[in-house]
Amino acid sequence: MDLVLTKNFDLPDAFSLPVYEGRGGYSSLKKLFSLKPDEVIEEVKKSGLRGRGGAGFSAGMKWGFIPKNSGKETYLCVNADEGEPGTFKDRALLLKDPHRLIEGTIIGSYAIGCHTAYIYIRGEFFREYKILEQALSEAKAKRYLGENILGSGYDLEIYTHRGAGGYICGEETALIESLEGKRGYPRIKPPFPAIQGLFGCPTAVNNVETVCALPYIIEKGAGAYKKMGTEKSSGTKLFSISGPVNQPGVYEVEMGFPLRKFLQEQAGGLRPGKILKGVIPGGSSMPILNAEEVEQVTLDYESMNKFGTFLGSGGVIVIDEDYCLVKALRILARFYAHESCGQCSPCREGTGWVHKILKRIEEGEGKASDLDLLLDISDNMIGQTICVLADSIAMPTKAFITKFRKEFEDHISLKKCPKTIA
């Protein structure tokens, strides 16, 4: 397998331009400008690259929806708002290889005919922002950005736009609203951003990791990328892993890699004395897998779907037998209740209600009927709202309770956490 995203992670100063260039950085641009924008889109379609922000939609296809000659500006927004609990892979790319992100942003912008791109960077990311700004000014000084890039006749400016705290601004239409200087309220779709996005213009929103895969695809060709991974999940992907493992961190593997092997080989296995209870595979909004499923699933979109969950953003959260699942789910519910923007009642009320019930159970005041109530509330949240934030807690709630019902029941009948009883 070729390292597509972490190739430079071993270099201490990969964030600086000379070091990046020394490893062949920006060399895809020459080939890029020899292709027509449509050919670039075609190449990315052929590579099978799917969006790494969570939904896994084909990147080339998304760009294909952008109308040509609409008479309006076209925008590319790079989503660097990373806020999904358990996910910390985009931050690694920002810190260690910002020029790859810039090179990818040039490719994406060229493909969709955009001359102003924004990198929407999470407000908390201060160091990452500084590093990115530095990289942008280096790139600009070298004429990789600005007017008539490398004599190609193509102009592009890339600006950073810093968020100000709010998980929901990672949702693509909320991100656009936030960039426009408004509250981060997701928009009702359609119209899709491809038709009516930033400032009312055709817009593509792409995740950092998606964009960082582009230089490889242009340089080595779609075929080389497609050769890696599985039929429907081509290429490599970053997985961030946290929880009681020996080596938590960010790792790049070929799609289709067995999760169990990933836990063992990359993450160094569970810490001494720990027994695996379950894994939340793709960031906190994904349904949990139990230990048995962990043995069978592989890290790709198809396999995750087979087990009723999703690859999401690749934030792997490991939970061991000693950790209380009522508490784990309560923490996640608090997060979604806090981050709900409040536009839709099933989400605004539902997230708060789920949190309240879980808190009650955790504190030993749960009722036997609470579990069915939680399932019922969840069912009434799924698919009923403007964005999928409501589903993001409803689906995990259902999975936690159906797969680990006994633990929840024990917690209710004992009126306290079974783990605290020696």
């Binding site: 500006e73 358990g86 709010g166 959260i317 981050e339």
Partner: protein, 160 residues
């Protein structure tokens, strides 16, 4: 109330990043509020009115936006703002103990500021550093692996 000359220059640079006219001015809102918070310490009503006058946007609209975002402080915070992540991965590493240790050491509860105005303590959601929890953001800097009370004490020592 006014931006420093240096910040005024930054304002015009910020405005250049967005289209001309009303939509572009509105797009500069978050960066301007951020700049204002850097200079004035927090986003007071006065600050919002000032930013409104620069961008020619009704102050009420700015208020509506500023209150939506958690990074805009609507009231003063201490010299050091300790923001402890208590999301799942950090909690599995003991973030709750980290937080309660801080509460004890600083004699304040989460959400409060020490009487000398030195420390403000807050609980925040995932900071995207989950592999090295518990994580505390101090002003703009991340501090990771704050598992034991000794590590937390050492951090406080450095901030004295």
């Amino acid at each position: 109330m006014e931006f420093t000359p240096e910040n005024k220059k930054k304002v015009s640079e910020i405005l250049k990043r967005y289209p001309e006219g009303k939509v572009g001015r509105q797009a500069a809102l978050l960066p301007l509020l951020r700049l204002a918070q850097e200079q004035f310490g927090f986003v007071s009503e006065e600050v919002m009115t000032y930013v409104a006058s620069i961008l020619d946007i009704p102050p009420a609209q700015i208020y509506g936006v500023a209150t939506f975002y958690t990074l805009f402080n609507k009231k003063p915070v201490g010299k050091y703002h300790l923001q402890v992540c208590t999301n799942l991965s950090c909690c599995m590493e003991g973030a709750e103990e980290t937080l309660s240790h801080l509460e004890k050491r600083l004699c304040i509860r989460s959400g409060e500021t020490t009487p000398d105005g030195k420390f403000t303590l807050s609980e925040v959601e995932c900071l995207a550093a989950c592999g090295s929890g518990p994580v505390i953001q101090v002003n703009e800097e991340y501090h990771e692996d704050l598992k034991t009370t000794e590590n937390v004490d050492r951090l406080l020592e450095r901030l004295k």
